[in-house]
Symmetry: C2
Subunit: 221 residues, 2 copies
DNA sequence: ACCTGAACACCGTTCAAGT
DNA sequence: ACCTGAACACCGTTCAAGT
């Protein structure tokens, strides 16, 4: 048996940070189902039990990984002159992080009160406050904006379970084809949407949803 | 070995419908983690493999259970004179179904393109069409409303993982207490929200979010 | 204090064998 | 055609033993 982490090897000692980092690497490459304590241990050249010394369990690991990615994404958002613009920038920052790390959607929408969500909530909240909303509407408005984000998060989560190499357009075309199979009477509207689906731009539509809420907010009294 | 389903016993032969029904019973009583093919088989007095003759896999079973519950909930929604009111009624119908079957939230927000979601989308879409929205905004508006629903779905999903007997208020108080632990500077806004959390009415707030979108819609041009 | 890795408990799914 | 139930593959988590 060779010594592993005890030697001053390439990686140094095990740490929560290194574990989370490695987890993100696996998640990005192989998705949620690819993240296994055995796989993680082998990549870190340690025993699977060692990880439990630094991380409580798999859920905590996923939460930590999500928070790490989103903290970076949010910190990178530039503050704009108008609160509305900062809100848009924040929303897009989260969107882009979810697009780059497709496993985040499921994590975010599955645990809406984890640290990463609070981070988003905090930054949204500050801007909404700056908007000069009446006090009693604050909670509702922030929640509505958060819902826009969780909504796309859910969509990304669904997309993340598809085969990795499937092109986005093929994916949407396949969904549209499924929808076209539905009963023409019972699902008349959905079939209408199906035609628009393959061409639509997720990111643009996401922003349109945020704007819709912002319009509603502007007309609050 | 006694014969089981072959006898004209109390339940009759195995069928997809009976399986889904039993699954819903388990889900309501024991949550997602309680739904096991072994448990399901034992409750149906059959072998675990038998279920696979009627249902493709666990995901399909969960989707079927979700669709069954939501189909009933949506069918029970009365059509109102004004499209806005029907939209509110629809949203509340879904909300109440999620409150009664706490496992549905995760299922819905985790698979936003399953049959149950399309059912919601279809009914929302018809009412939004009746609202007389410009064609190009249709997709965005329906998505925004769907996001409101998925947003609470996510919240319900999170709540469903808690111990079963924990009272709602205790749960919210516990979350509020967690939030109060956060850094006063980094999480100033979230800490503000924490005070309101234990007292707020989820259902009312949910409706307020829907209304916010409807206000935004009314001011589209 | 921190790491090792076998062992435990449990699960979704398959499949050869039955009826 | 439909059901049985043992077997397979895999996983999160624990823990006695090491250093």
């Amino acid at each position: 048996m060779t010594r592993r982490n005890l030697s001053t090897g390439a990686h140094g000692a095990l740490s929560r940070e290194r574990i989370v980092e490695a987890a993100i690497g696996i998640l990005d490459g192989a998705g949620v189902n690819g993240l296994t304590f055995r796989e993680l241990a082998s990549r870190l050249e340690t025993g699977s039990g060692a990880i439990y010394w630094h991380v409580a369990d798999k859920q905590a690991l996923l939460a930590a990984a999500t928070d790490r990615v989103l903290a970076g994404a949010i910190a990178a958002v530039a503050k704009e002159a108008e609160p509305q613009d900062t809100i848009r920038a924040l929303a897009l920052g989260v969107y882009d992080a979810m697009a780059a790390h497709r496993w985040i959607g499921a994590q975010l929408s599955g645990n809406p009160w984890q640290l990463a969500s609070l981070r988003i909530l905090e930054h949204l909240g500050r801007e909404v406050q700056a908007l000069g909303i009446p006090e009693h509407a604050l909670f509702n408005v922030v929640t509505a904006l958060m819902n826009c984000i969780l909504g796309v998060a859910a969509q990304h989560a669904a997309a993340s379970l598809l085969p990795r190499d499937s092109k986005r357009i093929d994916h949407l075309t396949a969904i549209a084809a499924d929808w076209a199979q539905l009963d023409p009477v019972d699902y008349a509207f959905v079939r209408t949407l199906a035609a628009q689906l393959p061409l639509h731009d997720d990111r643009v539509q996401f922003l349109a949803g945020v704007d819709l809420v912002l319009v509603g907010v502007a007309h609050l009294r």
